[in-house]
């Protein structure tokens, strides 16, 4: 597969891993956060942790949209799904996320009109096809998916489709990174920067990490070689005492970002004064809501959503895992009450969630002996 196989070349991967082992100074412990859930997933899917030296620790960051969404927002969305006129639509990622009364899939099994869509435009098409119903799109994601929601809203307005609205849960990555940098006890050395988000926002917004906090950040692709090369770049910066924003994923990420996408975001959305994140609490100006010009298409203004804050199940330690304080298996519920099949917390749901990634892909030391020929 073009643009993929080149980045999975076993020989180059082994070389990169060797270079990492060479650069990691014995006696020093490296804590590097991969911000994006896509990276967490790739690290486990490709078994990369096993290639790294013991003194290089990867901390899983908050870049998993369904993981950071507090349960109350899922409940609010599902309250809309129970309205008789509503068809509730969401990405596949959301379908197994637990709410207080079960996941969207469980609500569907009980008869709620819930459809999985691959794009918000599909939800808009559904609204066109069902003029007697109201289609709610449960929007979720960072700057990666927010532009497609914005373009869908622009299209809805252009076509005058009024039986469609967006329940907006889009969040922005920069305030979350800042919150992590400001949280006490977070001793991070560097960041593997998000790849997909950066295709939209570019690399400039990360400059404060290097300039104000003195930490290197390397925006990375998602193939094994991308991630290992990013770690090499980080270790080289640390060895040289540099702290810079570097772009390993330049084949996809333009330094200035995607200007048309940014313009669409600007036209449709504005920042919420604050928004609650699982594990990180309330973060100011960290989420998007629809501008007044799009009030008609805003589910939160068309309907009264309960807006109740719900705490996570008591024993679940999703917050600690999200902040990198605990490793997934250190949570009391991990692998027992909480499994990908019957998730208690959202981190076990999304394949980008640290817990699901651990559960699916983590291997025992005894299993590490690979087939060597």
């Amino acid at each position: 597969m073009k643009y993929v196989d080149e980045f999975r070349d076993p020989k180059l991967i082994r070389q990169a891993a060797e270079e990492i082992r060479r650069l990691a100074r014995p006696g020093r412990h490296y804590r590097i956060m991969e911000v994006c859930g896509g990276h967490t997933h790739a690290i486990y899917r490709f078994g990369l942790e096993g290639l790294l030296p013991d003194n290089l620790e990867l901390i899983h960051g908050p870049g998993c949209p369904v993981c950071v969404l507090p349960m109350g927002r899922t409940d609010d969305g599902l309250a809309l799904a129970e309205l008789p006129e509503v068809i509730f639509t969401a990405f596949g990622d959301v379908m197994r996320v637990p709410g207080t009364k079960g996941s969207p899939l469980e609500h569907k099994a009980r008869g709620a009109a819930i459809r999985m869509v691959y794009s918000p435009l599909d939800a808009l098409k559904l609204a066109e096809a069902h003029p007697d119903r109201h289609v709610v799109f449960f929007a979720i994601g960072f700057e990666t998916t927010a532009p497609s929601t914005a373009l869908t809203l622009l299209r809805a307005r252009e076509l005058g489709i009024r039986n469609f609205s967006v329940f907006c849960n889009h969040v922005t990555i920069i305030p979350a990174i800042r919150a992590i940098l400001d949280s006490p006890g977070m001793r991070l050395d560097a960041f593997v920067g998000p790849g997909h988000v950066s295709t939209v926002i570019g690399c400039r917004p990360y400059e404060f990490i290097a300039q104000d906090y003195g930490k290197p950040i390397v925006v990375s692709g998602f193939e094994p070689l991308d991630i290992l090369q990013s770690l090499v770049m980080i270790l080289r910066q640390l060895a040289a005492g540099r702290a810079e924003v570097e772009n390993q994923y330049a084949r996809v990420v333009p330094w200035e970002g995607n200007l048309p996408a940014l313009r669409a975001l600007e036209e449709v959305f504005e920042l919420r004064p604050y928004f609650e994140w699982r594990g990180l609490g309330f973060i100011s100006q960290s989420a998007l809501k629809l501008r007044d010009a799009f009030a008609e298409w805003d589910s939160e203004r068309r309907y009264t959503v309960p807006g109740i804050r719900v705490t996570d199940p008591k024993a679940a330690q999703c917050g600690e895992v999200l902040k990198g304080v605990l490793k997934p298996p250190q949570c009391k519920l991990f692998g027992r009450e909480c499994t990908p099949e019957r998730p208690v917390g959202a981190l076990m749901v999304s394949s980008e969630g640290a817990c699901a990634a651990y559960y699916h892909y983590v291997h025992r030391a005894a299993a590490a002996a690979s087939l060597e020929r």
Binding site: M1, V4, R8, P10, K11, I13, R14, A17, Y44, R45, F46, G47, L48, G50, L51, P65, V66, F91, G92, D93, V94, M95, R96, L105, E106, K108, A109, R110, M116, Y118, S119, D122, I140, G141, F142, T144, T145, P224, P329, Q330, F334, G335, R336, P340, E341, S350, S351, E352, Y358, Y359, H360, Y361, V362, H363, R364, A366, A367, A368, S370, L371
Partner: protein, 363 residues
């Protein structure tokens, strides 16, 4: 603290209890939820039948592809399968072909020569006769190609809106090769895992044929009878064939996890050896799916003793349609009850069963 794998193994070894309040789509998707439904609810209730325990043996491996019946010294294999697919026709096949090949393949991987099928049609009111006729023709043609006769059946019509056009159930009976000894309990460390060809074609073809994702690919369902391939394999390595399965719903990952669980052994796959066509790989990459979880309708997995592995592979490759067969991994004592995929650069991952329906990852 126990590792994930140990915890999973401990759960797998114990009794499965079905505690779900309602049936969801995942219970039919062939993965963990399906297993819980069958082993936690259906089998325990059926096991009680008769009261003398005489039925228990036949249900001993509830997730095997067919049940065995010994009748006057002849071992027969019996199986039934229902087919629910939307759209009814798709590149490379249709529901009628699937209904024949699916049941034929369940018999084939039970080391049985398919003899006869029963056919039940549940037809939705309003279905065009033309569509029905096309499917019956497809059934006849597939049966002819598979060398099996449809000897009886039943027809029902349900109200409009109650069945996606039509559902088909086929039941099949076959004669088991008396020299074959295929069971999870026969599998040993060192055995080789063979797959008959590229995986994931059927599942991805159906996903794309639904038209819900705007992706196009040159791809066809792999639906076919695998009996000729199995017959070739058995002829070449009869007592060396330890286990066979057709990896339909839940894919190769689920079938091999069931083997790992039932045999209490580990399976290590060589990631780069697993045959996956480019369009399937591409679609899986885009949608965040694992080809190992995608359904197949014309491939089978076999576990073969190491001494006969080369002959077995050559035999399958010599049958038309088996040219792409390949050894994808081997059975190990450790890690018990676990399937791993190892990449040649040294990375290793656990390959889990499918959980629920495969849901595309977007955000």
């Amino acid at each position: 603290m126990r590792t994930v794998v140990e915890q999973a193994a401990a759960t797998a070894g114990g009794r499965v209890r079905f505690r779900d309040a309602r049936i969801e789509m995942a219970h039919g998707a062939g993965g963990k939820a399906s297993r819980r439904l069958i082993e936690g609810l259906i089998v325990p209730l059926l096991r009680g039948q008769g009261g003398d325990g005489s039925q228990a043996g036949k249900l001993a491996e509830p997730l095997a592809d067919a049940a065995y019946l010994d009748v006057d010294g002849t071992r027969l294999a019996m199986t039934a399968d229902s087919f629910v697919v939307r759209p009814l026709r798709f590149p490379g096949g249709s529901i009628g072909e699937l209904a024949v090949n699916g049941t034929v393949n369940d018999l084939a991987v039970s080391a049985a020569r398919p003899l006869a099928l029963l056919l039940t049609l549940v037809i939705e009111e309003g279905l065009a006769t033309e569509t029905l006729e096309a499917e019956v023709r497809a059934i006849a043609e597939a049966a002819r190609r598979a060398g099996v006769e449809v000897v009886g059946g039943d027809t029902k019509v349900v109200e409009h809106g109650k069945a996606d056009g039509m559902y088909i159930t086929t039941a099949g009976v076959g004669r088991v090769d008396p020299r074959a000894r295929c069971a999870a309990s026969e599998v040993r460390a060192g055995d080789q895992v063979l797959v008959s060809g590229p995986i994931g074609d059927h599942g991805i073809t159906i996903l794309l044929a639904r038209g819900e994702i705007e992706l196009e690919a040159e791809l066809r369902s792999d639906t076919r009878s695998v009996y000729p391939l199995v017959a070739g394999l058995l002829a070449a390595a009869r007592d060396g064939v330890r286990w066979m399965r057709d990896p339909t719903r839940g894919g190769v990952a689920t079938a091999l996890n069931e083997l790992a669980r039932d045999s209490r052994l580990g399976i290590v796959l060589r990631e780069e050896q697993i045959p996956v066509r480019e369009p399937v790989r591409g679609a899986c990459e885009l949608l965040g799916l694992d080809p190992l979880h995608i359904a197949n309708e014309g491939q089978f997995l076999a576990v073969v003793a190491p001494a006969q592995a080369a002959a077995a592979l050559a035999a399958v490759r010599s049958v038309p349609g088996g040219e792409a067969a390949v050894i994808i991994g081997e059975v190990r004592a450790e890690p018990a009850r676990t399937v791993l995929a190892a990449a040649s650069y040294g990375g290793t991952r656990v390959v889990d069963m499918l959980v629920g329906d495969p849901l595309p990852r977007i955000c």
